[in-house]
Symmetry: C2
Subunit: 404 residues, 2 copies
């Protein structure tokens, strides 16, 4: 309820620019009169700010609005291809890149294999090379790059843009920015990968306009990005969303965290692959047993085998769905969210497992919160966190510190 004095003109001006850009984004195309009505800013202020934004190339005039008598007003919209942002999603053995423009349009995507447990120096070098390639390919001037968003499977410090801990990458207390040479002047934002997915879903994906939702990413680990009241919820020290370490079977396998039966140990893609390889070796799955290189059976292989009727593969996948359903039921009881979005590797076998997840939730969650929640698989497969990371510099431009 406390209000500060608002004498700081520079701050106010920046806030007004952000507000106008964001309203233009939300409305798609809008007249200055409407902008003034919606923002509460005077027509003069709107005129001066939009002129500035037009000069700088962020927005342009497009078509004409409906006339209510007199000349139809000109409409303003974000100018496609005027400014860009790059998102990078890291994981154990790959680096996914996405180039998006200021409108959120995905211009290009790339995926690169990287050696497991590579040094930060090597990763940073590769990162600079990949980003240089993608922006050169599209002849993008470095000045037009709003920033780079990095999605990390681990704990990050948003204020310092540091990686606190990414166990699967073997990184601890890393200031990635300090390793960059060519890109050292480009703003860099570090984000947890499940939260990057949630940012994607909220900004342009399936959770637009949804205030309370949870994105659960299933990969080598399992993490959740939680949105509450329309904003990322991070908890008191930034670690909220650690659903992967919810104990779903006290007698389950030992987890890296020291506990037994954490969700990760029974429903992660890594666990599914491990189980499938074991089944293949034991000859339980005829399909998988016929693979030449059993050690490299992947989640795609298990999903394909299941789709071709391999019972063992179907069982392995559905078993992971049952555990996932239990953890989701607890989440629904506690948080009463509007939507749960399951992402990353899950989208590769959602057709086989989503019904199992829903059935378990129906049985385990309380009726009242279960009745209002929708459980879906992310619509863009495993790319949500990459694009979400790319959206962070744009969000920064329009909403201020994207971290809050």
């Amino acid at each position: 309820m406390k209000r500060g004095k608002t004498g700081n003109n520079k701050f106010l001006k920046r806030l007004n620019r952000m507000t106008i850009l964001n309203v233009i984004r939300e409305y798609g195309a809008i007249s200055k009169i409407e902008l003034s009505k919606i923002t509460g800013l005077s027509p003069t202020a709107v005129g001066s700010i939009t002129s500035e934004l037009q000069e700088e190339g962020y927005i342009h005039e497009t078509g004409k609005g409906e006339s209510k008598g007199g000349r139809p007003p000109k409409l303003l919209e974000l100018k496609p291809g005027s400014y860009y942002s790059v998102g990078v999603d890291f994981d154990v053995d790959y680096m996914n890149l996405a180039l998006v423009d200021i409108t959120g349009q995905v211009i290009d995507q790339k995926s690169h294999k990287v050696p497991k447990w590579d040094s930060v120096e090597n990763v940073a070098e590769k990162l600079e090379l990949m980003i240089a390639q993608i922006i050169n390919k599209h002849s993008i001037n470095r000045q037009k790059l709003l920033g780079i968003g990095i999605s990390i499977p681990g704990l990050v410090d948003l204020n310092k843009s540091e990686i606190i801990m990414a166990p699967n990458l073997g990184w601890k207390n890393i200031n990635l920015k300090s390793y960059l040479i060519q890109l050292k002047d480009v703003p860099l934002y570090i984000e947890n990968e499940a939260m990057a997915s949630a940012i994607y879903e909220n900004w342009i994906g399936s959770c637009r306009g949804i205030e309370n939702f949870v994105c659960i990413n299933i990969k080598s680990g399992i993490g959740a990005g939680i949105f509450i009241n329309g904003k990322p919820y991070r908890g008191v020290s930034g670690t909220a969303g650690e659903i992967g370490h919810m104990v779903v079977d006290e007698n389950g396998p030992r987890c890296g965290c020291g506990n037994f039966g954490c969700l990760e140990t029974l429903a992660s893609a890594a666990y599914i692959e491990q189980r499938a390889r074991k089944m293949a070796r034991q000859g339980v799955s005829i399909k998988l047993s016929s693979y030449k290189d059993i050690d490299s059976i992947s989640i795609d292989d298990v999903a394909e085998a299941a789709r071709n009727g391999d019972e063992a593969s179907i069982d392995i996948l559905r078993e992971s769905g049952r555990y996932l359903g239990m953890a989701i039921a607890n989440t629904i009881n506690m948080l009463n969210p509007k939507r749960i979005v399951l992402g990353k590797e899950f989208t590769k076998y959602a057709d086989i497992v989503l019904d199992t997840v829903k059935a378990v939730v129906e049985r385990k969650a309380l009726r009242s919160p279960a009745a209002v929640v929708e459980i879906i698989a992310s619509e863009i497969g495993d790319k949500a966190s990459t694009i979400g990371a790319a959206l962070i510099p744009i969000k920064e431009l329009m909403e201020g510190h994207s971290c809050t």
Copy 2:
């Protein structure tokens, strides 16, 4: 980011009054000059609003502030005993009342036994009688009653002030207000009892200034009141905080919700009493077996026996602590809160069980969020939800709709 036009003077005036009252409350005693600085309102506006509030009796002048040259400024504070509020906490077989004044000072408390599963008509009649008694006893004019806050162990609709479902009371879709005759003109607020406790802890209890915390109440059921970013978090349909139905043992007892091994079935006070009676009947506990009326062994009896060294009683209580610890570990991983406050019946045996809860959390929760959380027992025993309910009408006066 959207801003509405702020031409509505009546609304603005109400907002400014609330802001000033709330700042006075927060600061204890404050000068008009400081009020103007903190709120950003002009000295003229502050002068006119505080005069009005003084005339109406909400605030008064007290002592004098420090002079920085010239006359020392007069300080304003909330006027004790000027306005009042009554809070009522319902449960299966009792009705607890608290009378508080505008400063949050508890003036009186009462507890009444009520028959189990009584009709709403009877309960409403008793409620009116009890409230009349407590305000007459203190010669309080009905006009000075800001409102009545009701705390219910169940699901409530804050907007309609209705009880949607209170399974332990046997109530469903009840508009309590419509049953009141003498009190029909007094504002009535219905709140979930765990959230009422959380409101108490945040407003005057152990969570002042804490943005993210969870109050877990243990009684016949187990429920949580969640505060996020300094406000009650209720979820998309108002049911958030249903921690009692987190499955902590898949092979556990059947729960009223249809599942097996919900936290409630293994750690509620009702379960502890049930287990103790069984032990008494089986002669496992010498202490409890010596009770004349085994069927009425209460949680107080179990706690007392444990304190006197009865091993069986200690085991029963600590077992409940282990399950509670598991659910709390999951909550800490998901929400990364600053504090967990355990309330209601738990405070009767906290000295025996709190260490067990903490030990389980240390083993089961991830290190990083576990390192920042404090787990404590509520300092005012089982009265937090009663006083919390009484604070709602005062919160309404100072912060607007207390429900958000």
